[in-house]
């Protein structure tokens, strides 16, 4: 990879690391950005792409390492610093003020003022209109941002970044909400910027897109850079190999036990969306004891919402659920947990853990009544259960009284799983159980899933990782746009069929066209 010529490098990261409480997001990364080129960055979810970009854009400060801008060492204490040095960023999460107009958003913090320090609204709108014109989005500068579609908001975000006149422009998944036509316009804008010598850092999951517009490619895996090449020298196989690695996935082997009786059934689950339509659209499925049912789907397919409905987190959801043939009429989470349902949520920081409590308190939080006689928690029993679970799940913690936030991501995830298991569930719902944890912990989590299914639990797990769903599931359900669009037996499932089902009724029409033409 050192074969890449080092000409025209505008920005260089040397040995940059970033540690958050809980995870090491970036490990000693070396990354070069070239001027007048599209520098592509790829990696799986949680590989550290966004963190790396936030470091460049000054949003996050590196824990260790150096940043060289045109050969000169710099440190950005804020994103304003980076903007002043000519670095702009289109964020993956939209960073717009919904209560302000498009023009006000584009010129936020750089307001155009007249002699008396009064904002010159007309001039701002005129200039904003120029940028929007180039994006051909039909957005008027005086519209309120909250009235725009998500795709249009993304274009505003792009217009804002372009208006910075940046030397380096970072785009973090800029196409995730765009239609095919809008993507084409964006690509034209990118080509235009490139011709003007702007260095573009482009992050995306869509490989065909990357190969089309990229000049250089860098691959990240688990916070490390695993490959750096010129785009013309690489193909899809190379990218995937660098992204996944040969040793990365250690899926525990199926042990060939046969699933038992039906333990769980959901009938006709519906959840209305706040903006109209259904987030979960008449989903029915059934699960047998000892079976692992993988639910595959893209972002926004309604997997998490389905789990939320099953757990009783939405009062206005309709449909019926059954455990071991008996209908669960309880509508609140507390009593559904008692009936034998348990959820491992997708976002463990926000929904899984109480980060300021200890590992022990987190583990027993959902099952305290088990250790209480009348109203007294019996400490000895609680401690016993905690140490048992720590050993069983191989949670690496010196003392369970430690705050849970001091653990690594993988161990935190194990604590969330342990908390669910201590409630003695019959059915376990796991939402992206391997998200953002390291390879070793992933293997542990997968092994645990196998073991639990052998013990007779029914496991429903949602994932957007194709390998994972293929390797772990006994059956595979596919969701798209809130609907169940496919149900495959493990033996008959093919990746192509699953991907096709996950795109049904979803996304831009043009996108489907390109896949069928291939």
């Amino acid at each position: 990879m050192s074969a890449v010529v080092a000409r025209d490098v505008i920005l260089k990261l040397e040995d940059v690391s970033k540690v958050y409480s809980g995870t090491v997001a970036v490990k000693r990364a070396n990354f070069e950005v070239r001027r007048g080129a599209v520098n592509v960055l790829v990696g799986e979810n949680g590989a550290g792409k966004s963190t790396l970009m936030k470091i460049i854009a000054g949003v996050e400060q590196p824990t260790a390492g150096r940043i060289l801008l045109e050969g000169e060492e710099v440190s950005f204490s804020s994103s304003g610093d980076a903007v002043n040095r000519g670095i702009g960023m289109v964020f993956q999460e939209l960073n717009l003020f919904g209560n302000m107009t498009v023009a006000e958003n584009i010129f936020a913090t750089r307001e155009i003022t007249n002699r008396f320090r009064k904002i010159d609204r007309r001039e701002q709108e005129r200039r904003a209109a120029e940028f929007l014109e180039r994006l051909q989005a039909g957005i008027r500068p005086d519209m309120l941002v909250e009235d725009l579609r998500i795709g249009q908001q993304q274009l505003v975000e792009i217009a804002k970044a372009v208006s910075l006149d940046a030397r380096i422009l970072i785009m973090d998944e800029p196409t995730s909400a765009l239609s095919a036509a809008e993507v084409e316009i964006l690509f034209k804008v990118i080509a235009d910027l490139k011709a003007r010598g702007v260095a573009i850092v482009y992050i995306s999951h869509r490989l065909e897109e990357l190969i089309r517009i990229g000049d250089y490619i860098t691959v990240l895996r688990d916070g490390r850079i695993t490959g750096q090449e010129q785009m013309k020298n690489v193909d899809t196989q190379w990218i995937v190999r660098q992204m996944i690695g040969s040793d990365a996935k250690d899926f525990a082997k199926a042990d060939g036990h046969l699933p038992g009786e039906e333990i769980f059934r959901a009938e006709d689950i519906c959840l209305p969306r706040a903006t109209g339509g259904l987030a979960v659209d008449h989903v029915s499925l059934s699960l047998r004891a000892g079976e692992i049912l993988g639910i595959y789907g893209l972002m926004g397919a309604g997997r998490s919402e389905l789990f939320d409905c099953i757990m009783g987190r939405h009062g206005h959801a309709t449909g019926a659920i059954f455990i071991a043939g008996k209908q669960v009429r309880e509508r609140d989470t507390t009593r559904r947990i008692r009936r034998g349902l348990a959820l491992i949520p997708e976002d463990r920081q926000r929904e899984g853990l109480v980060s300021i409590l200890s590992v022990a308190s987190n583990l027993t939080l959902a099952s305290l009544s088990r250790f209480a006689r009348l109203f007294h928690i019996r400490g000895a029993e609680e401690r016993q259960a905690v140490t048992g679970m720590v050993r069983e799940l191989a949670i690496k913690v010196a003392d369970p009284a430690q705050e849970v936030s001091s653990l690594s991501g993988g161990n935190q995830q194990k604590v969330v799983i342990g908390k669910a298991l201590l409630t003695g569930p019959k059915v376990l719902l796991m939402d992206e159980p391997s998200r953002g944890i390291d390879v070793g912990a992933k293997a542990d989590v997968f092994r645990t899933m196998r073991k639990l299914s052998r013990d007779g639990l029914g496991i429903l797990f949602a994932t957007s990782d194709l390998d994972e769903v293929m390797a772990l599931s006994d059956r595979i359900a596919v969701m798209s746009n809130g609907k169940l669009t496919g149900m495959f037996d493990r033996a008959k499932a093919t990746e192509a069929a699953i991907v096709a089902a996950s795109a049904l009724g979803h996304g831009p029409a043009g996108h489907r066209e390109t896949t069928t033409h291939d």
Partner: protein, 354 residues
């Protein structure tokens, strides 16, 4: 294997952890500091009579601060406690003097125990109103309890037209005597109000540490969403903390009326601020999830001793306010510094291990 990095980190981290320990004990250190300072600076400060008198003063704030601690741990705030003190005092005074007129020529008079129970029930009921506003109608705690603050104070003033219920000795033939016992009575040499404080404080500390409800209070404050998904009945937990806060305020209302043998409708004004100050001084985090009953009691003592001691030294009450404010600000600044230090120590340890 886990031992090695821990040992390697030990020498470099020891100075940091030493500082951390000092910071964690800051309320105790402050308590000892004010005790030592005033025993030198103020004559008679250490006499038994003075200590008991101060303890009686502190107890009032300590009750409110305990209720406030639970509320703040769940991430809320209760501004209404001062008004509940006033209203409950009026309820007790009214019942002692007038009983309840049944409209057809009969009037029921309650004995003192019954009056105390009714008053406590009123306090709990007002707390329940706070809780319902917050959990069912989704009113922000600050606003809900601010509203109840005004309503309760208004009701207290209405109950007597703004006048004081004087001379609550009661009549022996009606069985309403003995109201003064709470405020003036003694048991084994200690005032009754101190005994009640000890009992309630031990109960609250036990609740916080050894019951599922206590654990749930911390979980709700630490991460409400995670608590809900773990099956914690968040609304019930919140109802409880506001009701407990109302209960504590009712006790204070009873004790004050009993000490004075009179009920004044303006009693308890700005008590809520003292209670919040004591809780914060004792290490309760306003963002929720952190706090202890023990810390709060110590915090209440620091504030109480500080103001009584300054009075004994003859410091003007205007300066007293300035000093009290500074102490609270310093406490919170140290608290923040401790958080930062703590997270830095853990991050460094993690960077070493991982």
């Amino acid at each position: 294997m886990t031992d090695i990095p821990a040992k390697a980190a030990a020498p470099s981290a020891s100075s940091g952890s030493m500082l951390l320990t000092l910071m964690k004990l800051r309320t105790f250190i402050a308590l000892i500091a004010v005790l030592v300072f005033f025993s030198i600076a103020a004559p008679n400060f250490l006499s038994a009579a003075n200590l008991i008198l101060m303890a009686k003063h502190v107890a009032l704030n300590a009750f409110l601060a305990m209720g406030m601690t639970f509320v703040i741990i769940t991430g809320g705030i209760d501004l209404s406690v001062g008004s509940i003190v006033g209203l409950c005092g009026m309820v007790a005074g009214y019942l002692v003097l007038n009983g309840i007129d049944l409209q057809f020529g009969y009037t029921i008079y309650f004995n003192v125990v019954e009056i105390a129970l009714i008053t406590l029930a009123v306090g709990i009921l007002i707390g329940a109103v706070n809780g319902l506003l917050i959990t069912r109608l989704n009113v922000a705690p600050f606003i809900a309890t601010l509203g109840v603050l005004y309503v309760s104070r208004g009701l207290a003033l209405l109950s007597s037209d703004g006048r004081t219920f004087p001379n609550l000795v009661g009549k022996p033939e009606l069985g309403t005597t003995g109201f003064g016992y709470l405020g003036a009575g003694k048991l084994l040499g200690l005032p009754v109000s101190i005994w009640i404080l000890i009992v309630v404080a031990l109960g609250a500390a036990y609740l916080a540490k050894y019951t599922p409800l206590g654990r749930h209070i911390f979980a709700v404050g630490g991460n409400e969403r995670a608590a809900r998904i773990s099956g914690v009945r968040v609304n019930m937990v919140k109802m409880f903390v506001y009701m407990f806060s109302g209960f504590c305020a009712a006790i204070v209302g009873l004790i004050i009326s009993s000490e004075l043998m009179a009920s004044h409708p303006a009693t308890g004004e700005s008590f809520e601020l003292n209670a919040i100050a004591a809780a914060v001084l004792g290490g309760t985090s306003m963002s929720g999830g952190r706090g202890t009953i023990g810390g709060t009691i110590v915090g209440a003592f620091v504030i109480g001793i500080l103001s009584d001691g300054l009075v004994m030294m003859g410091v003007s009450s205007f300066w007293q306010m300035v000093i009290k404010g500074l102490v609270i600000i310093v406490a919170v600044v140290v608290d923040q510094a401790q958080r930062r230090l703590q997270s830095r120590v853990t991050l460094m340890q993690m960077a070493k291990v991982g």
